[in-house]
């Protein structure tokens, strides 16, 4: 039990570092890509699928807070939305069949879309201003997250199968 928790904690820390490095590289290479690709959400959904909901919640929480600390938005909003994203991705993915690429993509699309909606609602509520969706480009985020997330999971599954 303790070993599992410890392993999950190390994995969560590594995943956070990976997401942050990914976000930094995207920003350095082409800042405009950050509009359509949220590196933190991608890592949270990818790492939470098939794992425990607690792992997803903790990973989402840390990734969200890191995103918040490098943003001038309200500190904690991304933390809250990503906590819920990680928790429910882990919780639901262990109860339904998301093994195939298509099912996985649809599942991640729904989760990412719900996260974006919640983030928008919270921001509107706190800032009392409409969200700037960058001429609709930001609405592509769930699609990009779902596509890349399922692709990563599909490739990971293939690699694991080949090794076995």
């Amino acid at each position: 039990m303790r070993e599992t928790v410890l392993r999950d904690a190390v994995r969560a820390a590594l995943a956070t570092l990976a997401s942050f490095a990914f976000y930094s590289l995207l920003g350095a290479a082409r800042p405009s890509t950050l509009i359509v690709l949220n590196a933190f959400s991608l890592v949270v959904v990818t790492f939470s699928v098939g794992r425990s909901e607690v792992f997803g919640a903790v990973l989402g929480s840390v990734c969200g807070l890191v995103q918040d600390s490098f943003s001038l938005g309200v500190f904690g909003v991304a933390g809250l939305t990503k906590t819920l994203l990680g928790f429910w991705t882990g919780y639901v993915s262990r109860r339904i069949d998301v093994a195939s690429f298509f099912r996985n993509a649809v599942f991640l699309l729904v989760m990412s879309a719900l996260e974006l909606i919640l983030w928008g609602l919270l921001n509107t509520l706190v800032l009392k201003e409409p969200i700037d969706f960058r001429h609709g480009l930001m609405l592509l985020q769930p699609f990009v997250t779902a596509l890349l997330g399922s692709l990563i999971l599909y490739l990971a599954r293939k690699v694991r199968a080949r090794r076995a």
């Binding site: 942050f20 600390s69 001038l72 500190f75």
Partner: protein, 277 residues
Amino acid sequence: MALWEKRKSFLILGALVLFHLLLISVQIPLGGEKKLFGRAVFFVFSPVQRTAVSAFRGLRSVWTNYFDLRRVREDNQNLKHELFFLEQEKRALEDRLSQFRAEADVRENLAAFRKSLIPARVIGTDAVNYFRSVIIDRGSLAGVKPDMAVCDRYGNLVGRTITPVSYDEAMVQLITDPESSVSVVSETDKVVGILSGKRDALCTLKYILATVQTGKEGEGLITTGFDRIYPAGLHVGRIMSIKPTATVFKEITVLPYFSYATLDIVAVLPAVSGGTR
């Protein structure tokens, strides 16, 4: 105990949600500095960002320098570096020529200005709130403190440093952030107003009465120095449109001179007591 075993994951989720809600609620009303916890996370993760970006830029630089026109690229880099300082000096020279009579004074002041200038590179952008902030690779070790003006490589105003400032990184609030305020004056008609961001790449000039007849489209804006953060005479942007509104103020949209998309090398200006540059 039985409840914990049964509902462990939901209890942990509840605790995390409560923690985040508390974090959000302590920031209301908005407008204050980042809280200690936020600054701590920034301190811990900013070196990671710096390392990742440096590695990426290093690799990109190796590729371009060694495999693609090596000498030309190096010369270009040096010239860009020199141009960066020359642009800053030129702007400072324009201001100071009107203030100093003796040439010796001008030279002495320019030398001091060049020495105190802190060149930096943009290593991060805001992931969700675009046009509000960027992260630069110079921090307190290089002499960066909060409330220092930041200009692009051509000497146009970009924003100011704000907390958190870590040892090697600092956050810059852009003038396109709706929460920012810069005291500016139009170059020709001398209309004084407050410049703020508009949640996109544009700014708005506030508090210009509808009865004021001066100020026209295309006119440039420079800082006044009245806010005691931004030195006077920095080039900010130009007026794009002036529209009447139902209120007592005009709606004036300003296009900033700096380009968010191509923001790379910036200059952090030493803190001044305001008024002059």
